[in-house]
Amino acid sequence: MALDFSIIPGIIPALLLGTRLTIELAVIAVAIGLVIGSFAGIARVGGSNVARIVTGVYVDFIRGTPLLVQLFLVYFGLPTLIRRPVPPFIAAITAMGVNSGAYIAEIVRAGIQSVDRGQMEAARSLGLTYSQSMRYIIFPQALRRIIPPLGNEFIAMLKDSSLVSVIALEELLRKGQVVITRTFRPFEVYMVVALIYLAMTLAISRLVAWSERRLRVVD
């Protein structure tokens, strides 16, 4: 059976609709992850012992278990606890956001710890408090090192969002599957789906590379 590319123009609108949801999912997940990850990352460096242990367990659990399992926990498991269904979109951004938070926590922690110890000492020796030193000296320098890996995290979320196709959210991959039931052209459709992912991830990795050059740490 020969390839038939003539079907492509007809499927693009549907796939772009799915692409839009994919981007929304990734953006919202990373935004949630950023909030969780910033607090968790800071807690891992400068928090109390309790905060360190709690965030450590969180990071280990999330990074040591598949996102698909986490998604099922939220979508299928949580409803039995709270005795009401969790809508697919809410389940998806919850699982993805909490997942992303763990990875971002590690990015934030590594960024803070990459700042030379002498910076904190110099700040403290001027009489600045710990939190002033963090705010004016450590964070601004850590941020430059955090932005590039955050871009990589966003790429990872963009790709992993395809997992939520299993809970019937019509993001890019799921849209592709739907289109296939209409066209019976799995190879062509999945190829287009793959290329759309590739176009997005390539664009972002270019942006990351550019930001790495722009933000190269001077010291």
Partner: protein, 240 residues
């Protein structure tokens, strides 16, 4: 002005300071010399509590600052510190490096802080560099900015931790000149250094440290010229 009593510091089983008793008077310049690993930097860092002493006490202007109730930030603002590796803030311009402390810690206005910063930059001889970033400066210039940054807090004492050890030889002089001028102005200083000529010239008193204790102390002429202790003699024969 600064006094230590039975100051000890250990890192695990490594006993870096084994009981240091020193009293530094106002306007005095105390130079600390000794071999690497003798504990002289740790001693200096205990004075402004960058290192927490394992036991013993540090007094500053009569107050015991190793008391857990003391606000260390209030003590540190009175003691300027200059580091071997400068530790300027790389994301800030020279003038911002200098104005940050006075504005955030002392609540000085931006205008006043800038004025002080410019005066100090002129004093250390790099007035034209205020808008530059640390990475654009030579080592000697960076260290002079670091000194200006510490002085901007209008400290009562200055601590120098091998301030010229990371510098290329041709830049050592310009930094020593600045420290020398501070000494002439009567700043109370504790200077850890490997520059014996400088120690002799500016020091009111020289402490020779080895293996965590003060082995010998006295005027530069006594300690550097006629050392009594065999360890001091052995050290000086290697470095002079």
């Amino acid at each position: 002005m600064i006094k230590t009593v039975g100051l000890r510091k250990s890192f695990g089983n490594n006993h870096v300071l084994r009981g240091i008793d020193v009293a530094i008077k106002p306007h005095e310049v105390v130079v600390v010399i000794g071999p690497s690993g003798s504990g002289k930097s740790t001693f200096l860092r205990c004075l402004n509590l960058l290192e927490k002493p394992s036991s013993g006490q540090v007094f500053f202007r009569g107050h015991c600052i190793t008391d857990p109730h003391v606000n260390v930030n209030e003590v540190r603002r009175e003691m300027g510190m200059v580091f071997q590796r400068f530790n300027l803030f790389p994301h800030m311009s020279v003038i911002d490096n200098i104005t940050l402390g006075p504005m955030k810690v002392r609540g000085v206005s931006l205008e006043e802080a800038k004025q002080t910063a410019r005066d100090l930059l002129r004093k250390v001889g790099i007035a034209e560099k205020e808008k530059d970033y640390p990475s654009e400066l030579s080592g000697g210039q960076q260290q002079r900015v670091a000194i200006a940054r510490a002085l901007a807090m209008k400290p009562m004492a200055m601590l120098f931790d091998e301030a010229t050890s990371a510098l290329d030889p041709e830049m050592i002089g310009e930094v020593l000149d600045v420290i020398r001028r501070l000494a002439e102005e009567g700043m109370t200083m504790v200077v850890v250094t490997h520059e014996m000529g400088f120690a002799r010239e500016v020091g009111d008193r020289v402490l020779f440290m080895d293996e965590g204790v003060i082995v010998e102390e006295g005027t530069p002429e006594q300690v550097l010229g006629k050392p009594q202790n065999p360890r001091t003699q052995a050290f000086l024969s290697k470095v002079l």
